[in-house]
């Protein structure tokens, strides 16, 4: 009996130490520790694509196994996971969201000032490094059909002024009541109104525009349907909407452990345009291709940006691209 007892005890302790030391179980990876790279992916399609993109780049250039912690509902949940140390990289962060959400500051409409502010505040308050943007921004944007844009020569929101009185506008529900960049702010900034403004669910606005039920809608600038319906995004020439430039974020701890990460993120600077992001989102949302597959295909098409500065040697194919 005593032997059983001791046997049980030994097994129990082996087990608990195994789990408590958070040692990686083969096949499923472990929690983030000092040795592992964990990337937070959001619940949004774009957030997942970008997390898998970072994973693909890390595994291509470094001989380590990176891990995507997927489906973290919102940007603030990913922030919490970063602060707790459950993950040490976030695939995509947006200046506007982080400024008002994670950092609790007032919105800043000047893109450069907003960027400088988040870089500084994340370094000071959270010991995290905010990298230069991927090149796309997922912001609110007014968009019209190509026909209407060509007919009236529309490029910016201000161009709408002469015809706005005849336009039916479809906008996001929550935008109507938003402070700072909502409907009221729009009236103050641009000083004109539409014939009628209909609040609706954000996912429906693109189809409403396509179907001709609306003449102009407010949507997200990287949505895949912009590309597929051939919509024209109007430039926000009076900077009503705060910038939502997309960047990767990494903790100083992981950058210290893997100095190569820094050059990987710099390599990814300005590599993806709004139009490209629209296409990637479209592939995942409408063409039934998983974000991970979309990300891998994109990286392969672009040869993992091997020809872009800063040059790095690939970990996978020895003696590969070294002509840099």
């Amino acid at each position: 009996m005593k032997r059983i007892k001791t046997l049980g005890k030994t097994l129990f302790f082996t087990f608990t130490t195994l789990l408590l030391s958070a040692c990686a179980l083969p096949g499923i990876g472990g929690q983030a520790g000092e040795e592992s790279i964990s990337i937070a992916g959001l619940a949004s399609t774009e957030g997942q694509i970008m997390a898998f993109m970072v994973e693909g780049m890390v595994e291509h250039y470094m001989d380590v196994d990176a891990q995507v912690v997927n489906n973290l509902g919102t940007s603030s949940m990913a922030h919490q996971a970063m602060v707790n140390g459950d993950v040490n990289i976030t695939g995509v962060k947006y200046t506007g969201t982080s400024l008002t959400g994670d950092l609790g500051r007032d919105p800043i409409t000047d893109p450069e000032l907003a960027y400088d502010t988040v870089v500084e505040l994340f370094a000071e308050e959270h010991q995290q490094k905010w990298f230069p943007t991927y090149g796309f921004a997922n912001t609110y944007a007014f968009m019209v059909t190509r026909e209407l844009a060509e007919e009236h020569d529309l490029e910016t929101i201000s161009d709408l002024e002469p015809i706005a009185g005849e336009l039916r506008a479809g906008v996001d529900n929550s935008w109507m009541e938003r402070e700072g960049d909502g409907y009221r702010a729009f009236l103050d900034t641009y000083e004109f109104d539409f014939q009628r403004v209909t609040p609706m669910q954000i996912g429906l606005v693109y189809d409403a525009l396509q179907a001709g039920e609306m003449d102009i809608v407010l949507g997200y600038s990287t949505d895949g349907r912009i590309a597929s319906y051939d919509l024209v995004v109007l430039e926000d020439d009076r900077q009503l909407f705060p910038p939502y430039d997309a960047s990767p974020l990494a903790s100083y701890e992981v950058l210290e452990a893997y100095p190569q990460l820094e050059s990987i993120f710099l390599k990814m600077e300005n590599t993806i345009t709004n139009e490209q992001m629209q296409e990637l989102n479209f592939a995942a949302d409408n063409n039934l291709i998983e974000p991970k597959v979309v990300a891998t295909q994109f990286l392969e098409e672009n040869n993992y940006f091997e020809d872009k500065e800063p040059f790095l040697e690939s970990a996978n194919n020895e003696g590969g691209d070294t002509n840099g």
Binding site: M1, G8, G30, D86
Partner: protein, 223 residues
């Protein structure tokens, strides 16, 4: 480019599998491993405790009661509570599966060992077997099929719990299901996540059921 909106749901499902087969397979393996790890750890802990409890019947009510209480906590709540302490990721889900698997394994081990015929134990004792030999050569083989039934039960439940693990970033087939729910026209994606999950549960159940029969000593003596 194929226009997927024109396809029926079944065609979409086939197209989806063609495009993302490798991804679905990797999530399938991950899902399976998370469930298995939890159940294996629970067996390592639960079976010895079950044996011990069989000899300390007074403690048994108390211990099985405690395991019962764990079982009554909804799995989403349990995941969230553990997430506070252990953080997000697969390890937390393994821990949750472990806790839920304890009860069926503990209970079945206890019942299996208690039901071993006393005369057989006495016979063993009469043959000069030590306590350890009795446990290992008489009780364990006789209780094994009941213990297996507990493990089988635990594994099927575990596969279901792991699907919820997606909410704390553990990955697995739950990732595919949530994506399908969020997508505008995601019926086929939901199927692509649920069919393999159900398939996994059914196959493991059948396999363990077969194993259970195989180790049942009453089957062996018939031959």
């Amino acid at each position: 480019m194929v226009d997927v909106t024109e396809m029926s749901m079944i065609q979409q499902l086939i197209y989806y599998m063609g495009q993302n087969g490798a991804y679905v397979w990797s999530q399938f393996l991950r899902h399976f491993l998370i469930s298995i790890y939890g159940v294996v750890f629970a067996s390592i802990v639960g079976i010895p405790i079950g044996f011990w409890l069989a000899r300390h019947a007074k403690m048994a009510d108390w211990a099985i009661g405690a395991a019962n209480v764990i079982q009554t906590i909804p799995s989403l709540a349990m995941l969230s509570i553990l997430m506070l302490g252990l953080g997000v990721g697969a390890d937390t889900v393994v821990m949750t599966v472990f806790l839920y698997s304890l009860l069926p394994i503990l209970k079945n081990t206890y019942a299996g060992v208690r039901n071993v015929d006393h005369s057989l134990l006495d016979a063993g004792k009469g043959m000069g077997m030590t306590r350890w030999q009795l446990t290992y050569k008489v009780e364990l083989p006789l209780a094994l099929s009941v213990i297996m039934a507990g493990i089988r039960n635990a594994l099927v439940v575990a596969i279901g719990i792991t699907a919820i693990g997606t909410f704390i970033g553990a990955g697995g087939l739950g990732d595919i299901i949530t994506r399908g729910v969020n997508a505008t026209d995601g019926g086929s994606i939901i199927l692509a996540g649920t069919i393999p999950t159900a398939f996994m549960a059914i196959i493991s159940d059948l396999f363990l059921g077969w194993l259970e029969k195989k180790v049942d000593p009453s089957n062996r003596t018939k031959k």
